[in-house]
């Protein structure tokens, strides 16, 4: 396998999209290629593209499952716009993905699946490989099914088992094209199917068959190489946003010396956080799958009262159901983190698609004046730090925090340099001391304005709290008019005080740029990609990306005021821009919004920003 007849072309970055029927194993194929990419030392990010249905009818466009990986020699911030290479296991995969590939892209398809029946199911009137519609692409029609059968015929396996290995044939072709070693994939199978050597053998044979087929195939004249990226030294793992979120809370609980309690109810696309936390019983995590969203958050409030780092995880509709209980936590002034993995709304909306449309709900979606801290994670790996920071702020300031992530972050993955808990910021919850004669339920720390946490079981601190308005200090139920005003202002001031404890807004680019791009949360990767690229092209542009939403960083006004033009870009109909207009009405803003359940593309942003710069 070592001698190569073809020429090796060096590339800066590549986007590959694996697509097939739901049952074709495209997610595994993508994951194995990702592992190989990590081994090659590239920076990368991935994104799965599942159908909303579990198993839509075979061969239909609705049943296509995809996996995209973007890897490079340079820093990679997103899973990529359009693909350079598409692997299409059937006509439906081709049809569903034509809009996601570049002009001139390489398309590798299973020629055996391109038959009348397949065209019909995919909704093609005729063979798309013969009607001229693919003229601008480099088409590799490989008889993948036939060659897979051929490769394992001596193993006498049943047809179903054989067909399950054809994804390895496709992977073998791609591995050859990108000069990858097969050893890593072989090892995966040897480990995973230890008890079934026949399956191991079949997959290894088919992978090698795909590789060898590509090597001898004249259509592939060149192979490609992407040099390792200049990543910081350290130990790395590939992580999705949901998994990173779960890990961030585990780390925070350990650092704070508290038990971690999750009360949650399964909901797309947040469920993996619950699943991941149920796995980590070895670290003492208590994950409780409640009967509904309300019981999820309310059990967490109970656990918080009892002294746990308590969290609840959900997505949009679930956040609606939790609203009343968030108000209770605001009134009780207990630590609690609510993770909202945003999806397309309203109502059930687009459960498997991403959106940034719950910002207003996070800020204001409760009865009464009920301020909470709002944070928004900026990348899959940042979900670890965002969860950690949310826990820290909630515990130290004794107030609920809403952490916004989104479907793209949740399902997308990127490389994560593993931190050591010892190096993370300290977390010091304001626990009341046993038998403290001065303890009163609503006596406050003069600096942060938080009350103190008196945990059941602690001697001399018995007290009652609840949803009725509390008298300042004593915490007794109070309907006094002036007290209510005072307490409302105190709750607001407590959250505003947090601005003293969060980092200032950092701008990417110079202070005198002609255009300031403003964004928040999960769009950071694409915004940075565009702005970095345009700065390299000599454009006068800068990026201010927000991770702290409530309160805003203290220098927000100064940063916004420094620029002549501001454009606020969001995957919604313009919520952060409204929030900025409320806070800083003196500035003029333009906006760019996309509400299609799809991420921003580099090209569309670049075009928009150039229009503004050239105007």
């Amino acid at each position: 396998m070592t001698s190569k007849n073809s020429k090796v072309v060096e590339l800066e970055q590549v986007v590959i999209r694996f697509a097939g029927d739901s049952g074709d194993g495209m997610q595994l194929t993508g994951a194995l290629f990702s592992d190989s990419t990590a081994f090659a030392g590239n920076d990368f990010a991935t994104f799965p593209d599942y159908p909303a249905e579990i198993r839509a009818p075979q061969g239909t466009v609705a049943g296509v499952s995809g996996f995209q990986i973007h890897f490079g020699h340079k820093s990679i911030y997103t899973s990529g716009d359009l693909a350079d290479v598409l692997i299409a296991m059937n006509p439906a995969s081709l049809k569903a993905n034509m809009k996601w590939i570049k002009d001139g892209a390489i398309i590798i398809l299973d020629a055996d699946a391109f038959i009348e029946k397949g065209f019909e199911r995919a909704g093609y009137a005729s063979d798309p490989t013969l009607d001229g519609s693919l003229e601008n692409y480099r088409l590799i029609k490989a008889p993948i099914s036939t060659l897979t059968r051929e490769a394992v015929k001596q193993l006498s396996l049943d047809n179903k088992t054989v067909m399950k290995t054809k994804n390895m044939f496709a992977l073998g072709i791609v591995m050859y094209m990108f000069n990858r070693e097969l050893e890593l994939v072989n090892k995966y199978y040897e480990k995973k199917f230890k008890s079934n050597p026949l399956v191991v053998e079949a997959n290894i044979y088919v992978l090698a068959a795909g590789y060898n087929y590509a090597e001898t195939l004249e259509l592939i004249s060149d192979t490609y190489k992407v040099e390792p990226a200049a990543l910081e030294k350290g130990l790395y793992r590939n992580v999705t946003g949901n998994i990173a979120t779960a890990w961030g809370f585990i780390a925070a609980a350990e650092k704070a010396g508290l038990q971690l309690f999750l009360g949650s109810y399964p909901i797309t696309p947040a469920t993996e956080i619950l699943q991941e936390l149920t796995i980590h019983k070895e670290l003492g995590v208590k994950a409780f799958q409640a009967e509904d969203e309300i019981a999820g958050i309310v059990s967490a409030i109970g656990a918080s009262f009892a002294g746990s780092l308590a969290i609840t995880t959900t997505s949009g509709p679930g956040l609606s159901l939790k609203s009343e209980a968030i108000g209770l936590a605001v009134m009780m002034e207990l630590p609690l983190v609510i993770v909202n993995v945003q999806r397309g709304g309203p109502s059930t909306g687009l459960p498997t698609k991403s959106e940034q449309s719950d910002l207003m709900q996070a800020l204001y979606g409760r009865n009464g004046e009920a301020p909470v801290i709002v944070l928004a994670a900026k990348s899959p790996a940042d979900c670890f730090y965002a969860a950690y920071d949310a826990a820290k702020l909630s515990l130290e300031h004794m107030t609920p925090v809403i952490l916004l992530t989104d479907g793209s972050l949740a399902q997308g993955s990127e490389v994560f340099r593993l931190p050591h808990v010892a190096d993370l910021a300290t977390i010091t919850p304001p626990l009341a001391k046993a038998n403290d004669a001065a303890y009163k339920p609503y006596r406050r720390d003069p600096e942060k304005l938080n009350r103190f946490w008196a945990v059941p079981g602690t001697e001399g601190l018995r007290h009652r709290i609840g949803g009725l308005e509390k008298e300042d200090g004593s915490g007794n139920v109070s309907h006094d008019p002036m007290n209510h005003q005072k307490m409302t202002l105190l709750r607001e001031a407590k959250v505003e005080k947090v601005a003293d404890y969060i980092p200032e807004l950092q701008v990417f680019g110079t202070d005198d740029a002609d255009l300031l791009v403003v964004s928040w949360g999960g769009t950071h990767g694409v915004m940075l990609t565009v702005v970095e690229k345009m700065i390299e092209q000599g454009k006068s542009i800068a990026l201010a990306h927000f991770r702290n939403i409530m309160p805003l960083p203290k220098n927000t006004e100064a940063v916004l005021g420094r620029y002549k033009q501001r454009i606020v870009c969001e995957i919604n109909n313009g919520q952060f821009i409204k929030y900025l207009k409320i806070n800083f009405p003196q500035f003029k803003y333009t906006q760019y919004n996309k509400i299609q359940g799809l991420p921003f593309m580099v090209a569309e942003l670049e075009q928009k920003f150039n229009e503004l710069l050239n105007a």
């Binding site: 590939n238 019981a295 059990s299 009780m332 609840g466």
Partner: protein, 344 residues
């Protein structure tokens, strides 16, 4: 039956240890006062440190209860007390967790949490104050209001079928259900103590009178002239016998209960159904819980008390086992336990 072993010798607590300094604001004559006194009387007997009690509630007249107990307490939101209690207990299983709720709080808006908490068998003591009306909102029918009752939202009489709390609890696989009466605080104290010692979710229905919005809801059961004929006090291992002259009883005939008079038709005490509160099969317990006037008396005392594994115990054990069997001892090790690569 599995009882908690409690060493009462170490703690010298009195009723006063649990009286809070807050003014009790229930209406004069409300049945809640008697229940509060009964609970205050029971807590010192349980051998639990006063810091280890947590009393939680939802919304309603009964839900003001935590403010009147000098313990750790939470007055939550409507219907969600069971979820609050669940979080407290799972977070720290050493705590003695009490949930105070009413017929509306627990069986209407909070019905879901109520049945699921029972199903899981989390060790929480639920005191359900059943006055068959919405008191705090001033007189609308509740899930236990008898059919046909005229209330502010049923001017022609309700046409809903009411819940029988015992039937609901046992239907949700409840292992402990008892019934008491606000006018019989002595019996309440005995029941509350049993409920506290039962491991798992215990539900005590207290038939309680709202003097303002549904006064005399339980009159047939409580009035001096009729009460002996409509109250049946259960004792484990004893026949179901009642009546002014102690001559009425309950027999199990085929698949249903029947009321009989001792001495008539050759019936003797030996023919009566003998109460077995520890019977695993819920069939007879449901029948006893369902007994109601005018055909039957209402059963008071412990109807069902069956030992079963608690949720929090299994959770704790699973965690202990996972800790013992894993080589991963902290976050750093967990993060580095699989699929890593080095950049150098």
């Amino acid at each position: 039956m599995e009882n908690q072993t409690i060493d009462t010798g170490l703690l010298q607590l009195t009723k006063e240890d649990f009286s809070s300094d807050q003014m009790v604001k229930w209406c004069p004559g409300c049945g809640d006062h008697a229940i509060l006194h009964a609970v205050e009387g029971v807590f010192p007997k349980l051998g639990v440190a006063k810091e280890d009690f947590v009393v939680v509630s939802g919304i309603g007249c009964s839900s003001r209860f935590p403010y009147y107990m000098n313990t750790y307490g939470m007055h939550g939101i409507h219907g969600r007390a069971a979820a609050l209690a669940t979080g407290v207990k799972l977070s720290n299983p050493k705590l003695s967790v009490w949930m105070i709720t009413g017929d509306g709080d627990c069986m209407a808006i909070g019905g879901n949490h109520f049945i699921h908490t029972i199903r899981r068998n989390i060790d929480i003591n639920i005191l359900l104050f059943n006055n068959k009306i919405y008191g705090l909102t001033k007189g609308q029918y509740s899930p236990t209001t008898p059919r046909g009752t005229k209330t502010k939202t049923s001017p022609q009489g309700t046409f809903e079928r009411p819940f029988n709390p015992g039937e609901l609890v046992i239907g949700a696989q409840g292992n402990f259900f008892a019934r008491g009466l606000d006018t019989n605080p002595k019996q309440l104290a005995v029941i509350f103590e049993e409920a506290a010692r039962h491991k798992g979710t215990s539900v005590v229905e207290v038939m309680q009178n709202c003097v303002i919005f549904y006064n005399k809801a339980h009159e047939l059961i409580t009035a001096r002239e009729t009460r002996d004929d409509y109250q049946l006090h259960l004792v484990h291992g004893k026949p179901l016998i009642f009546g002014k002259n102690n001559d009425k009883g309950i027999v199990l005939k085929g698949t249903r209960l029947e009321l009989v008079t001792i001495g008539e038709n050759g019936i003797t005490e030996k023919d009566l159904l003998v109460h077995d509160q520890f019977e695993q099969d819920p069939g007879v317990h449901v029948m006893i819980a369902r007994m109601a006037p005018p055909q039957f008396p209402v059963a008071f005392g412990i109807i069902r008390s069956v030992a079963a594994e608690t949720f929090e115990k299994v959770m704790e054990n699973t965690i202990m086992e996972a800790k013992a069997n894993s080589t991963v001892k902290n976050t750093d090790e967990m993060l580095r336990s699989a699929n890593t690569w080095t950049i150098d």
